[in-house]
Structures are given as C-alpha cells and as structure tokens.
C-alpha cells in the first residue's frame, strides 16, 4: 500500500477510535498520560502503517515523539531495530501552502513529519478532528501546521 493511503486510513482510525480509547489510556499508574497515549499511537503506527507499507526488516521513523514503553527505544514492536525509512511531506500542487500555525505561506523544504493533530483556537491539539499535519521546519527549528488535504506523504529510504 502507498504510504499516503496508509496514513489517511490511520487518521480515519484515530478519528473514529479516539473518544473510546483516550479515556482508557489515562490514569495509568506506571506512566504519564502523554506517554501512555504516545505508546498507543506508536503501536498502531507500527501495525497499521509501517507493516502495511514496508517489507519485513524495514522500519519507519517513529510517529510523533514515539513510544516510551521500552526505555531507550521509541518503538513498541521490535524495540531493538532502527528505522531505515522516513515519511516526507509534499505540497499536493507543488506550490507554497499556508502554515496555519504561523499564518505564513511557505514552500515545503527540509521539514520533518511529526504527527497528525486537531487544531483549535490557533493552536494544534491532540484531539479530533485529526486533519492537520504537524511538522518541524528543520531550517528554523520551528513548528508548522498544514491542512492535511494540502499535503501528500511519500516514503524516503535513509
């Protein structure tokens, strides 16, 4: 499956399951709410996206901040492995697109895909409706948010 399609299915899954799952992930006695949710996101990223788009022994960069369940590793399954693929983003039409977090039109270049978010009151949130793409502008060390329907996702091997 193409990474773009796999991520959009993953996002559908997040939107449909969030209200059920998120209350179950908080108040754990061994970790923080944030880490608990990140563990769940990373587990599903590996099962629903990574394993759907990559052959065996190939691994994607972690989703968002990755998991914390395995200490030094940021993965859930196969915690000892390192990624050899990452997700790149592109503007669908190749033009500048609006970064709604900073209200700037920008050309996508040297940006790291972080995660899919909601957006409320001018800032990204980890709640539905998940339809925004949070990235790090590596040139400026700046967070940016784009509408997902302006973005396509591609795989890049390290």
């Amino acid at each position: 499956m193409e990474i773009d399609k796999a991520i959009r299915i993953f996002v559908d899954f997040l939107n449909s399951s969030w209200s059920i799952v998120s209350p179950l992930l908080i108040n754990r006695d061994y970790t923080t709410n944030e880490d608990s949710i990140n563990d769940w996101l990373q587990a599903n990223w590996e099962l629903l996206v990574e394993r759907k788009v990559l052959y065996v022994n190939n691994y994607l960069e972690v989703y968002g901040e990755g998991a914390d369940y395995n200490g030094r590793s940021s993965r859930i399954t196969a915690p000892e492995v390192l990624p050899n693929f990452k997700v790149n983003i592109k503007s669908i039409n190749g033009n500048e697109i609006l970064d709604i977090l900073n209200n700037q039109r920008v050309k996508i270049s040297n940006m790291t895909f972080e995660k899919i978010t909601g957006f409320k009151n001018g800032f990204y949130i980890l709640e539905p409706e998940f339809k925004y793409v949070l990235v790090t502008d590596d040139d400026l060390g700046l967070e940016r948010v784009f509408e997902m329907d302006q973005i396509s996702f591609e795989l890049e091997r390290y």
Partner: protein, 318 residues
C-alpha cells in the same frame, strides 16, 4: 586551664554565654549578641540576626502564621529570656520558620500556620498543611487534569537541645519515640538521616546518620517528607541542571519540574525534556518537547542518554 583527667569548670564558650553561634565577647568586658540588626532591635527581637529577623517579619507580615502568639508562648514556656534554653528555643523557633518559608517558596505547601507549645525540654509544632496534588480524572470524566487540595493538620515534637546524643523523648501519638537531632530545620533540610535501627525487642535504638533516603522513621508524614525532598531536590537540582527545581512529579519521581515551567524526565535509560511553548496561541502551560542535537538512535531527537550527574540525582532519592 583544666588539669589532665579532670572536668573543665568553664566552657571555652562561657565568654559568649555558652552560645558561640549567637553571642560574642569582642573585648572580654561584656557578652552581647552577634550581628544584631540595629540598636533597639537587640531588645525587641532578642538579638536575632538580620536574616532571621527578615524571615520572621516577612512571615508575620504575610499573615501565614500566628507569629506573636507562637513567639511569646515559646519564650514563656521555654523558661523566659536569658537562659541557654531560651536561646536554643529561639533559634529553633526561627529555624522552623525558615523551614516552612522554604517549603512555601518551593511551593510544596501553599500555606501554613504554626503554633508552639511545650516546656524546657521540647516544643511542639502544629502546622496546617495545604498542599496541592495532581488530579487527573474520575470515571465520569469530571476532572481530566487539575489539582486537588490536601488539607491536614500535622503535629511534630521537637526536643530543644544543641546536642544530638542525650535526648530521649516519648510522644504519645505514635510518632517517633525518640528524636535526637536538634531542630526540625536540621532534621529535614540540613541533615541526612538514615534508617532507624531497632533492638531485638523491636525498640527503637538509633538512627543512622549521613545516609540518603532518610525520614522513613517519620512514617506516613508525607508532607514533611515532601518538604525535605523538595529542599534536597532544589539544592541538588540546581547543581546538576543549572536551574531551580520546584518539585518532582509526585507519582513518577523521575519527572523534574523547574521554576521556569520546563521539565525533564530522567531515568537510567533515557532523558526527555520539555520547555514552555513560545507560540503566542499556545494555551498557558503548553510545553514543547526538545529535540536534542545528540540523541538516541531511532528517537527522532526526542531522547538522549542521561548524564552521570542526572543518574546521581536520581539515586539521591531512591
């Protein structure tokens, strides 16, 4: 000069009223208090040093405790002015104030009241702990995140003595049967008190001094343990992280929270760190996870190896 094998008649500190920490005798003619504030203050405030006076006045001015009642009661019940017990009691009293002020500054407690009583061998200190703790939610989702207030009255017994070895004190409410250190402040902030040792009949024997992880003998007195930990965390945290630590996250002890709102999550395997998100639309208190230049492979920059200092910091509180 005492002869060999005999008992020294006068202490070498007699010239200072046997209180070299509080009094001086600069020319051999007259003993007086060291570092008095100014003129009348020597009389009004018993010669307390300037720092102590400021702490006292600030606390009293802020209305945090029943200051004058406590002071008068203490001085009266400690045997009036002038004697060694008086000075020890007064020193202890202000140490206690400093201790609670520190707890307040560290935001370990949000308010306190003190009341003092006792006689010439001990005082008791009652304080009302009003402490905030993180609350997450209930099953109905009423409170997902927030704080809950813990209001409790706690009472502690403190012997008045300058010495560690010769006090034996019993308290009827099941608190320590014997407390040797000479002030709350020194017990909780300055000293590391290790495990309590018991004899074969289960009777308390002694404390181990100098060890980490003390205060277990105060079993169940969460507030004071928290205060002690906060003071130690603050002190060691400043050395290691270079910024002021306000607390350890109470459930996950490796989460260190700094006064500037940033936090760091340290365990033996990895370190994660957050700083306040500077974006103007970020809700108050929103944090942004740091991406490290040198990071653990596969972590996308969000984890790094802990330093030796950070590991040592963790070990302090195990």
């Amino acid at each position: 000069m005492a002869y060999s094998g005999g008992q020294q008649v006068f202490s070498p500190y007699a010239a200072m009223g046997n209180s070299p920490g509080m009094m001086i005798d600069p020319n051999g003619e007259k003993t007086k208090y060291a570092d008095p504030v100014t003129g009348d203050a020597i009389v009004d405030y018993g010669g307390m040093d300037a720092v102590t006076l400021r702490a006292y006045l600030a606390s009293f001015r802020n209305g945090n405790f029943n200051g004058m009642y406590g002071l008068n009661t203490l001085l009266m019940e400690a045997g009036g002015g002038g004697g060694g017990t008086y000075r020890q009691a007064r020193t202890l009293y202000f140490n206690v104030l400093a201790f609670f002020e520190e707890a307040l500054n560290r935001k370990v407690i949000s308010s306190y009241q003190l009341d003092f009583g006792g006689d010439d061998t001990y005082i008791y200190v009652a304080y009302y702990e009003s402490r905030t703790e993180t609350a997450i939610s209930d099953e109905d989702g009423d409170v997902l995140e927030g704080v809950t207030l813990v209001d409790k009255k706690k009472t502690y017994i403190v012997p008045i003595s300058s010495y560690l070895s010769d006090l034996h004190f019993e308290h009827s409410n099941g608190y320590p049967k014997r407390i040797e250190p000479y002030s709350i402040f020194n017990i909780l902030v300055s000293q590391n008190i290790g495990k309590a040792y018991y004899d074969e009949n289960g009777e308390f024997e002694r404390f181990q001094y100098g060890g980490a992880g003390g205060l277990e003998y105060l079993g169940g007195v969460k507030g004071l343990k928290a205060i002690k930990a906060a003071a130690q965390v603050a002190r060691e945290g400043m050395k290691i992280f270079g910024k002021e630590v306000v607390k350890l996250q109470p459930v996950w002890e490796e989460m260190v929270i700094f006064k500037d709102g940033s936090k760091i999550d340290v365990n033996a395997a990895r370190v994660k760190e957050w700083i306040p998100n500077p974006h103007p639309s970020a809700p108050a208190g929103t944090l942004q996870k740091i991406k490290f230049d040198k990071f653990l492979p596969g972590s996308k920059g969000y984890k790094r190896t802990p330093t030796e200092g950070e590991i040592n910091f963790l070990n302090l509180f195990k």
